[in-house]
Point group: C2
Chain length 354, copies 2
């Protein structure tokens, strides 16, 4: 930085050019942030979990942030702005719950083109407000600016947790049981449905889609909920999972995160993966394998966590918690045991946005 060079235009003079796709999302972040180290005494955990953990006395502060970009993460052709505002908050507080914490505040920043009217933004904020009320978080800041094109929403969630109750991705041990809340795959199938209806509508603009009997899958896509209730249940039954993550990228990818950070393997059982009957039906309609939708679909915002086997009695009879496999030694890899008894290595799907 000593020499202040002004060069025009920098984009043309680049010598080497490696496409970001060669690294993938997680590889890219890892590559770019590797040279950074933590120096502040209060930085307990930096990059690499659902949220950063900051030491602020008795309670730790949790910080998580997400960007939602029009044309990448949402399509306003079928996403009502109120739902979008709601979902944008949900995906962020979900990260705080995934640390076994309580979200307390959010900041919301928007970059938007002049295509957006005040009324459109009122709708977006009405959704944000609904989510703030539901999840008991305060909107405490943000930034609003213009954009040459489209809408970008950046939300940061700030939460709290007692230090000894924070659950990281890195705590899973061989023998732990793999648990999943709710059901998986429906959000992805809801998206397929909305995309199909959009194509039909584009070809035949007069026809309004009738999606009344697909409310479940569409609701999972357009208005997901974070598992605040489960974090409350954990406290009530005095359970601290050994590791946890929220399922945003898909079960495969998120289980691989836990395995990588915990330096363990996993044996996932197809039989144990919860899939809603509506999602089963819809998958068949789209000629997709329901388990593939559950493994790679993403956006379910359910919790994936592991527990010590001695805690199994605490959760055994609880609704909406399913045991779906076991953590194993790292050398055994991360595999799916199908209903037919075959073993398949799990693959990270996820991010192919570029």
């Amino acid at each position: 930085m000593q020499k202040l060079a002004v060069y025009l235009p920098p984009m043309n003079t680049e010598e080497k050019r490696t496409d970001v796709n060669t690294l993938g999302e997680f590889g890219l972040i890892e590559h770019l942030t590797r040279p950074f180290s933590l120096h502040q005494a209060s930085s307990i955990k930096g990059i690499g979990d659902d949220a950063a953990v900051l030491d602020h006395g008795d309670l730790c502060t949790l910080v998580s942030t997400d960007l939602l970009v029009e044309g990448i993460h949402f399509d306003l052709a079928y996403t009502p702005l109120k739902h979008l505002g709601y979902k944008a908050v949900v995906v962020n507080v979900s990260d705080i719950y995934a640390m076994n914490g309580q979200p307390k505040q959010i900041t919301v920043s928007l970059a938007l083109s002049n295509r957006y009217s005040v009324e459109a933004l009122e709708e977006l904020y009405a959704g944000i407000r609904l989510a703030c009320e539901k999840y008991e978080v305060d909107l405490v800041g943000g930034d609003t600016t213009s954009s040459p094109k489209g809408l970008t929403i950046s939300i940061t969630a700030i939460g709290q947790a007692e230090k000894e109750r924070i659950v990281y991705r890195s705590g899973a041990r061989p023998g732990d049981l793999i648990c999943i809340t709710g059901d998986l795959g429906a959000a992805y199938l809801g998206l397929q449905l909305l995309e199909r209806e959009k194509r039909i509508w584009q070809e035949h603009p007069g026809i309004q889609p009738n999606l009344e009997d697909q409310k479940y899958a569409i609701g999972r896509q357009l208005k997901p909920e974070a598992r605040k209730d489960m974090i409350e249940v954990f406290r009530k039954i005095n359970l601290v999972p050994t590791s946890m993550i929220d399922i945003s990228d898909g079960l495969s990818s998120d289980l691989l995160h836990i395995c990588k950070q915990s330096k363990v393997g996993a044996l996932l059982e197809e039989d144990g993966v919860p899939i809603h009957p509506d999602a089963q039906m819809l998958a068949l309609q789209f000629k997709l394998d329901p388990i593939t939708c559950a493994l790679s679909g993403g956006e379910d915002y359910e919790l994936l966590f592991t527990i010590d086997p001695s805690d199994v009695e605490k959760i055994k009879y609880l609704p909406e918690i399913y045991i779906a496999g076991e953590i194993v030694e790292e050398a055994h890899g991360t595999r799916l045991q199908t209903k037919g008894g075959n073993l398949h290595p799990l693959k990270a799907q996820g991010w192919h946005h570029f």
Copy 2:
């Protein structure tokens, strides 16, 4: 949210359409966030200052967030990515200093198109890292995603401050002295210079600009610094300003923020507004009034603060702190007294991005 309506396409069916420009940046934020109230015990201060203030025991947590959008806030034709990364951090930590706090952590989120190579991002992160080292903050999180077009950078800064040392915009009282650090207007003139050279270059692509003798103004635009040093000075001389803001929108606009929040007026003296000789010269070259550049230019990231008159001895002989006027009763308005002795009402410039 009870009824899940899927409508295609929502943008065509809008009934009323109010352009966001009718409200302006601050009016828009106020309009959209008015229905929100603070419920969490830890939310001491929400929207309306440089940073939110959260009660976390002995120390308060400060949170500030900024979005930088390509084509709005920066032009890569003349902004080296390393400088951009540096500046993106600086503008955020500056907000924490403006609360008399110490930044400790940042999160960095990026939305970027596939035009950006890994090497380009390495440059950006090299600048971010330099700023992290300079301002002693840890990078603890973020999100990286693709974008259909351009680059958007969202940074959230997290800081700490003792509750009784936090300085809000709202504490100025009639009789307080208005103080300014450093000098104003040069960042804006640096931008004018870069824009002019870009136009010349576009018309005559062979010509590389020679900006060697304009290093000061260009440096102020491309590589601003936040006033960490001043916050340290305040502590050393045991000064707690009565109000403070960082000068990002321009002296006029930022002084008006203090006046509005403190419910006071101000008498600013042209003679007291610090302007660098290089900025003076450059203003004349562009046929601009130097004081106008200082009042409305913005992006100086200097501190504007008010002190109790009994504290004047503490700062009187300190370099880079200038007394530029006095806080008056609200009824007297917010005015500039020119060198010629005339009085002009101050106007908020700022945001005309849309």
